[in-house]
């Protein structure tokens, strides 16, 4: 008994020694690798400091002329409209596919599992392609229209929302569901009276977060030539008009903060 104890202690000590040695070797390798870096130049863009300073000082003040503000408001509105339309469509598609993918609709009988797996697969395809790639595809198909942006946001976001919804709907506690079942509720009724109310606060919270992301995505659609905040930012950047860039960035931040505020209000009223 005593001897096995000693051997065990020895084994543990040896393991610690090995680990320390390994740490030392790896730290040595890191230091040695630093000698391989050419410190002479090229690591930092030498003119970058000045350009950055110029960019920062342009914030004081940003471009606030009435004409430009009007343009910024119009661009913000366009971006917001794209984001709202995209996320709304995503909510509807995501909820429908998410419910099916969660497998909580028992009435589909024996094919239930197959249908759930198919829905999960579809959601995975939708979200594995980035919204910009979808945008390129839809601009090719529909031209530079709002429809292209809305679909480009709606499809990958529906994929993400559907996946999260299906998880949230499955992760609710069993107790309340058993209570409903013992009252004779079918799976569809358990969904409406149990799963959805139990998961709703989290579902809404996550949807709002995705709405913020959708605003960002709608803004960045300028990369494929669609108008909005991102498009104006790109134009001003090309002309090196940094004060204008700042104004537009502030509008973008303002939009996101607005959604954040709304989300807080809604969640408070749900009283989680």
């Amino acid at each position: 008994m005593i001897w096995t104890g000693v051997t065990k202690a020895r084994g543990a000590a040896r393991f610690l020694e090995t680990r320390r040695l390994l740490t030392l070797v790896l730290a040595g390798a890191l230091v040695w690798s630093l000698t391989g870096v050419d410190w002479g130049g090229g690591i930092v863009h030498t003119g970058g400091g000045n350009a950055f300073k110029e960019f920062l000082t342009a914030l004081f003040p940003p471009e606030l002329s009435p004409g430009f503000l009007k343009l910024a408001i119009a661009a913000s509105w366009q971006t917001l409209v794209h984001a709202v339309a995209g996320i709304t469509l995503a909510l509807a598609i995501g909820l429908a596919l998410g419910v099916v993918a969660s497998g909580s609709l028992g009435h589909l009988g024996r094919s239930r599992l197959a249908i759930a797996v198919a829905a999960r697969f579809l959601l995975a395809i939708m979200r594995s392609i980035h919204e910009l790639v979808w945008a390129v595809l839809f601009v090719t198909a529909f031209g530079l229209s709002s429809l292209a942006v809305v679909l480009a946001i709606a499809i990958p976001y529906a994929g993400i929302l559907g996946r999260i919804y299906s998880e949230l709907l499955n992760d609710v506690p069993d107790g309340p569901l058993d209570g409903l079942r013992s009252s004779g509720a079918s799976p569809a009724k358990v969904l409406v009276y149990g799963r959805i109310p139990l998961a709703l606060t989290d579902m809404i919270g996550y949807s709002f977060y995705r709405f913020e992301c959708a605003i960002r995505a709608a803004a960045i659609m300028s990369f494929v030539g669609i108008r909005g905040l991102g498009y104006e930012i790109q134009l001003s950047l090309n002309d090196l008009l940094f004060s204008e860039v700042w104004t537009l960035l502030l509008f973008l931040v303002g939009l996101v903060l607005l959604v954040d505020y709304w989300s807080t209000r809604v969640r408070r009223s749900l009283g989680s």
């Binding site: 107790g175 209570g179 409903l180 009252s183 509720a185 009276y193 749900l270």
Partner: protein
């Protein structure tokens, strides 16, 4: 108890979870209007038995006949919910819903899907909910969020749901274990009153001997999935309970 008056007929009821035997071949006959208390230490199989009687989990072996129909032949939903209903601790309510919706959930077995959906938005049968809740003394809470209610009030909401479901057999899984003695007694009184209304059968698991003696007619002792005793409540002695809960043995060692 004659066979004609019995509402539950179980033969060789068995259930195991992997290597753990929850119930080993139980025979159980319960008559109409009987008030049965189920006692036994945690893990003795009380909850499993109640869930099997409620048709919520399937049997491994054995035959269960409810109201002279094999439970497998009862259509889940309407038919089963007319025969059995279950009250759990407080967990059977959906805390996010208003009280009225939690009570109306008792009707989900009888309502079709469309009616259930519609009721979620504009509640059907509000009058009956008010009636049930006022009998339980919480009519003023009808539109409150269920999570805002105290434990005792939530338990009343669960009873109100049961009143709307109106099953022939009321099953209650430790309905008063989380309540203080005064509230526990109140809840049991209400529960047994609702049962007595139309000669319903009630089977409840609980631990307090004085409440068992006051509100029940028959006591079944369960331990490690087997019945240790099945006696009229008059024969319930402290020694029997101590032996069931292992209290005497702990004293000796």
């Amino acid at each position: 108890m004659t066979a004609a008056a019995s509402i539950i007929e179980g033969r060789g009821l068995a259930k195991s979870y992997g290597a753990i035997t929850a119930l080993s071949s139980l025979d159980l006959t319960v008559g109409r209007g009987e008030r049965v208390a189920l006692v036994g230490p945690s893990g003795s199989g009380k909850t499993t038995l109640l869930y099997i009687l409620a048709g919520l989990i399937p049997l491994d072996h054995g035959q269960l006949v409810l109201r002279s129909k094999p439970v497998a032949d009862l259509r889940p939903g309407k038919e089963l919910s007319e025969i059995v209903g279950l009250v759990q601790q407080q967990l059977d309510l959906v805390p996010q819903l208003p009280v009225i919706q939690n009570v109306l959930a008792g009707r989900l077995g009888q309502w079709g899907l469309l009616r259930s959906l519609a009721s979620m938005f504009s509640a059907h049968e509000r009058g009956e909910v008010v009636e049930a809740l006022s009998r339980l003394g919480i009519a003023d809470k009808i539109d409150e969020r269920t999570s805002q209610l105290s434990g005792g009030e939530q338990q009343r909401v669960a009873i109100a749901r049961l009143m709307l479901q109106a099953p022939r057999i009321i099953l209650a899984d430790e309905p008063v274990s989380s309540l203080d003695p005064a509230r526990a007694e109140e809840i049991l009184r209400l529960l047994t009153e609702v049962a007595a209304d139309s000669d319903r059968t009630i089977i409840a698991s609980l631990h307090a001997p004085e409440l068992i003696r006051k509100y029940f007619s028959r006591v079944i002792g369960l331990r490690e999935g087997k019945f240790q005793f099945d006696i009229p409540v008059q024969e319930l002695t402290t020694q029997r309970l101590d032996a069931l809960y292992d209290l005497d043995r702990r004293h000796q060692s």
